[in-house]
Symmetry: C2
DNA sequence: GACTGTGAAGCCATTCACAGCT
DNA sequence: AGCTGTGAATGGCTTCACAGTC
């Protein structure tokens, strides 16, 4: 049940629309136009309508979109009606920060396991989750139904732990390590590369006017 | 001096090529083909050659590319010959982790200031940089020649501190807050949105197979 | 023979512009 | 009159395929 081929850029924008709609709902707004959504996100209104058109017709011509209704539909489209269990691999600076980060817990993402090779870190309590030894990775993945693995280990270990996640059946990986990872086609991979982001800024700073 | 219009995707890949070349050089490899670079990054060899072709001819037909030479050229292209001074705005979990993160210090990015509104955090020493009060932001930007501001404050404050960075003349912003930021056209902005990344994974998990 | 550099073709995403509802 | 939904046009990135060079 793949909804044909949806551009990645569209999925990213839908995520952002859903956040803006969530803010609008909190603010008590009931109806919104594609133009208003577009302005709040910094894209064109045609873009907003095209993005939504991949999945159906959610608005009323002449009127706009009902905020709660559209938000409900986006939540379904993005698969956020169910809770996703996460594991963080690597309890270093970044891994710990992510474990303690509130943003994850909201909206149905639940950190269920944190593992680390370093025995000095094992046993630490990070926002209610106790750091386990790396050896227990496979067991934890099965026991706790982990669907997303978050890689925050050093580059040199990143591929190895990713292979273990994949072998244990984890279908999605979010990679924070500065390392190109290989995963089989059925596994979803996204990269959050801090160094690359800085280099892109550096490029733009060097070439703009 | 804008090198015409370079696709963002190209710049991102160039950053990754530069990292792979850096690894190759460490490994003592002297020559590499576009096919080998492509395989190590997971793109096509034509893509690698096209990306490089935006900036010149760096290879030798029939032979390939000299690793150190190409790396040198990419370093220049990406603007990494000079050091960029960074400021981190927000010394919470994420801001502190970034401050302590080794990856930044390598490759010419230097954290020169960390600020926070919370007086309890002011005075903390994070890897040799002392947290300053937010009031001092503008002074620090000027005194320390800050070129990139890293936003790790809560969404509600993100636009406000971004405006202050922009007004103080900071030309580039890396935004970690879950908030759409507005900056004038001459300011470069990149977003690293953890929640969006998870939502995209959720979408893919829900729609694959 | 091997591998780069590149015009041309193909493909995909965005923008345009308007028909269709309310 | 206002705003959505969408085919058509546009623009841009990627892939193809091969001429050019070592």
């Amino acid at each position: 049940m793949k909804a044909y081929k949806i551009p990645e850029a569209t999925v990213i924008r839908l995520s952002i629309y859903s956040r803006q709609l969530s803010n609008l709902r909190k603010a008590g707004v009931e109806t919104v136009s594609s133009e208003e959504i577009a302005n709040s996100v910094g894209v064109s209104s045609a873009q907003v309508r095209k993005d939504l058109a991949y999945f159906g017709e959610f608005g009323t011509r002449g009127v706009g979109y009902r905020v709660d209704e559209l938000l409900g539909n986006l939540t379904k489209i993005l698969g956020l009606t169910k809770e996703w269990n996460l594991a963080i691999i690597g309890a270093g600076k970044l891994g710990s920060a992510l474990a303690l980060y509130e943003g994850f817990r909201q909206r149905g993402f639940s950190i269920r396991a944190i593992v680390d090779v370093d025995h000095k870190r094992v046993g630490l309590d990070l926002a209610g989750v106790v750091v386990d030894p790396l050896d227990r990775l496979e067991t934890l993945i099965k026991e706790r139904d982990i669907k997303i693995g978050i890689i925050t280990v050093p580059a040199a270990e990143a591929q190895r732990v990713t292979d273990r996640l994949v072998d244990a059946g984890v279908p999605a990986v979010l990679n924070f390590s500065p390392q190109v990872l290989r995963v089989p086609p059925h596994v979803v991979l996204r990269n959050v590369d801090l160094a690359v982001n800085l280099k892109v800024l550096s490029f733009n700073l060097s070439h703009n006017s």
